[in-house]
């Protein structure tokens, strides 16, 4: 069931378009990440949904009601800010009770709900402290409790974890998923951390220069990127460009790469993407085990970076360079200069749409 709906949203600052024709739905209870580089308009879209910014065009609907012209305070949203934005002159309890009081919930009922919310974010017993007396992670939990205690129609988070250090951040990611599932709130989460988006979300929307270039489940957007931008932004990718032939593309050097997906018309130019971890290196000299992967090229290892559990190789092939991620499971890592065979499946050869 659709809970939040944005239709043909556009926003300009002066003559600069910041958002262009954004339309998408957010399903009831789903966790959606807005992912994109800095300046792509993530915050702007989130703030339009929240009501802090009025779009130049288009509509926002929450729970079936058009709220485009509704002020923020009337929208029943919950919002978590990167800077936490706790009220410094109030205790944790007072902070969390603030939204309840605005909805006329006071006294014993308010106290009970505040307590439950603080339990949900694992901060029971901290109610009488002032925000200053809490660590960054704890403050973020209070901000979360404050945002969800009112049972908002939608929970909006703008890079809530980016002020935390790596460890705490991973911990909070796990907590956030748990809390979101327990509360069942429709959640929209802004981030520019691709790993965070992939780990947390039911759906990832990739923004580029004010447009949603792709939206889908994490595996979908990662495994089947639609454009060069999406492929590049979500992790590393090898790009191969050639002419479309039956069942694949022919590269400039004459070798053919098989593609197991619909391709543009034969004869036209096309680019395919291959993730570095999908490529298997077969050591020709050492006679490594052959695989059934039907794409194969021979190449020369040109660099290798050792990182404990994994290795990153670069292999040169007719003026092209391949990036390959390999688990550190081979008897002996390949060294620079080794002539190897790179193999991968046509299933992992993803044709990309031509740039708009």
């Amino acid at each position: 069931m659709t809970n939040v709906e944005v239709r043909s949203i556009a926003k300009n600052y002066g003559s600069v378009p910041v958002l262009t024709d954004i339309s998408t739905d957010f399903t009831q209870g789903s966790f959606t990440s807005l992912l994109g580089p800095s300046g792509s308009g993530k915050t702007t879209l989130l703030r339009i949904i929240a009501g802090f910014i009025i779009p130049d065009q288009g509509n926002v609907a929450i729970g079936g009601n058009d709220v485009t012209r509704m002020p923020v305070w009337a929208r029943n949203i919950g919002m978590v800010f990167q800077s936490y934005a706790l009220f410094p002159h109030m205790t944790v309890n007072e902070n969390v009770a603030f939204g309840l009081a605005r909805r006329g919930i006071k006294g014993e009922e308010s106290r009970k709900q505040v307590e439950r919310a603080l339990e949900l974010v694992r901060l029971p017993g901290f109610g009488d402290r002032k925000p200053k007396q809490l660590s960054g992670g704890q403050q973020q939990r209070v901000a979360l409790a404050r945002a969800i205690v009112t049972k908002p129609s939608v929970l909006l988070l703008d890079e809530p974890l980016s002020a935390l250090d790596r460890r705490l951040r991973q911990e909070m990611q796990v907590e956030l998923i748990r809390i979101q599932k327990e509360s069942g709130l429709t959640t929209i989460f802004v981030t520019h951390d691709q790993e965070e988006a992939l780990t947390l979300s039911d759906k990832v929307a990739i923004l580029d220069r004010g447009r949603i270039v792709q939206i889908g489940a994490p595996t979908e957007v990662y495994e089947r990127p639609k454009t060069r931008f999406a492929a590049e932004f979500l992790g590393d990718t090898n790009f191969l460009t050639g002419t479309v032939v039956a069942g694949g593309i022919r590269l400039a050097n004459g070798s053919t790469v098989a593609v197991d997906a619909p391709l543009p018309a034969t004869g036209s130019e096309a680019t395919v993407a291959v993730r570095p971890e999908k490529i298997v290196i077969r050591d020709v000299a050492r006679g490594g085990k052959d695989t059934d992967r039907s794409n194969r090229v021979s190449a020369t290892i040109s660099s290798s970076v050792y990182a404990g559990t994994a290795l990153t190789y670069e292999a040169a092939f007719d003026g092209l360079s391949f990036k390959i991620f390999a688990q550190n499971s081979d008897a002996r890592p390949h060294s620079v200069g080794d002539v190897v065979e790179l193999t991968w499946s046509p299933l992992h050869t993803v044709p990309l749409e031509a740039a708009a």
Partner: protein, 302 residues
């Protein structure tokens, strides 16, 4: 040779003659010039005055000088002074009150409705009263407030039949003049308090369902309280002792502790009484602050 740990540290620093100063020494070196000057400039005259307040007469003539407490009995010996003191406190209260209300909203408007160049210009305009001569400022009010003055003129140009509203030589006129003179302090202290409030705090409040009056009352006002308090302290104390505004704008009703004390120094040449009255008022003001600070601290501690 036994290795002495103190020696071994020195060994690691071959050019060991430049030892850093101990922290207390550098702190003292930094503080002494300022605090030394403050002590000299503030406490020396204050102490002299305090000593004067226990004398029978100003120690400048030929009259014999004797130690006495009688100056501090002035409020008992001359009960009319109690009325004057009460009027002065009221005047201080109303001036501070109007400064607080106007100053808070002026600062709020500066912080939330202006930016960049406009804000800078407005801030400078706020400081204008500081740059004009106080006497000129106050006398200009007499031109406005007197019967047939600019105020009357302005009202009559809109509503010709209206009577005179000029209220020169009233306590209200004194408060108007004082508010004009001291408002910049309040605007500045409130501005400093408000400008540090992150906009996301206000946004967080409205995302939780707060409308503007709730944001004003529950967020901005309590968070700006330190500014309001320091502004009030800055204003209340000098207003109680002010004599120029009461004299010029108050006329016959403008008798305040400030004018009484000034008279002792300039007219009656009774410095000991003037000093004693000042210190009595200082004690009263400190008493008022002490009473309020407990209440305020509980209300605004961050």
């Amino acid at each position: 040779m036994p290795l002495d740990p103190a020696n071994s540290t020195q060994l690691r620093e071959p050019g060991g003659s430049r030892k850093p100063l101990p922290p207390w020494a550098s702190t003292a070196a930094l503080l002494v010039p300022t605090y030394g000057w403050l002590t000299l400039a503030v406490f020396l005259p204050l102490c002299t005055m305090f000593a004067f307040s226990f004398l029978t007469a100003t120690p400048m003539g030929k009259a014999p000088i004797v130690f006495t407490f009688k100056q501090y009995r002035a409020f008992i010996d001359q009960p009319y002074l109690l009325g004057v003191a009460w009027q002065s406190l009221l005047m201080g209260f109303w001036t501070t009150f109007f400064c607080a209300v106007l100053g808070f909203f002026a600062a709020l408007a500066l912080v939330r409705a202006t930016e960049g160049k406009v804000r800078e210009t407005l801030l400078i305009l706020v400081l204008l009263p500081f740059w004009t001569n106080g006497l000129v400022r106050v006398f200009s009010w007499t031109m406005v407030l007197r019967e047939g003055g600019f105020l009357d003129y302005a009202i009559h140009s809109v509503w010709p039949g209206a009577g005179s509203v000029g209220f020169l030589y009233t306590r209200q006129a004194v408060v108007v003049g004082l508010v004009h003179g001291y408002l910049p302090y309040m605007i500045l202290t409130c501005y400093i308090a408000l400008v540090t409030i992150d906009n996301t705090i206000v946004e967080a409040a409205s995302s939780l369902g707060a409308r503007w009056w709730t944001i004003l009352w529950k967020i901005l006002l309590p968070m700006a309280a330190p500014g309001l308090i320091s502004g009030s302290v800055l204003i209340f104390v000098p207003v109680i002792g002010s004599f120029m505004e009461p004299r010029i704008l108050g006329g016959r009703v403008g008798v305040t502790m400030g004018t009484v004390i000034e008279d002792q120094f300039t007219q009656a040449f009774n410095w000991p009484l003037g000093a004693a009255l000042s210190f009595t008022m200082l004690a009263v003001v400190l008493g008022i602050f002490a009473t309020f600070s407990g209440v305020l601290r509980r209300g605004t501690a961050l």
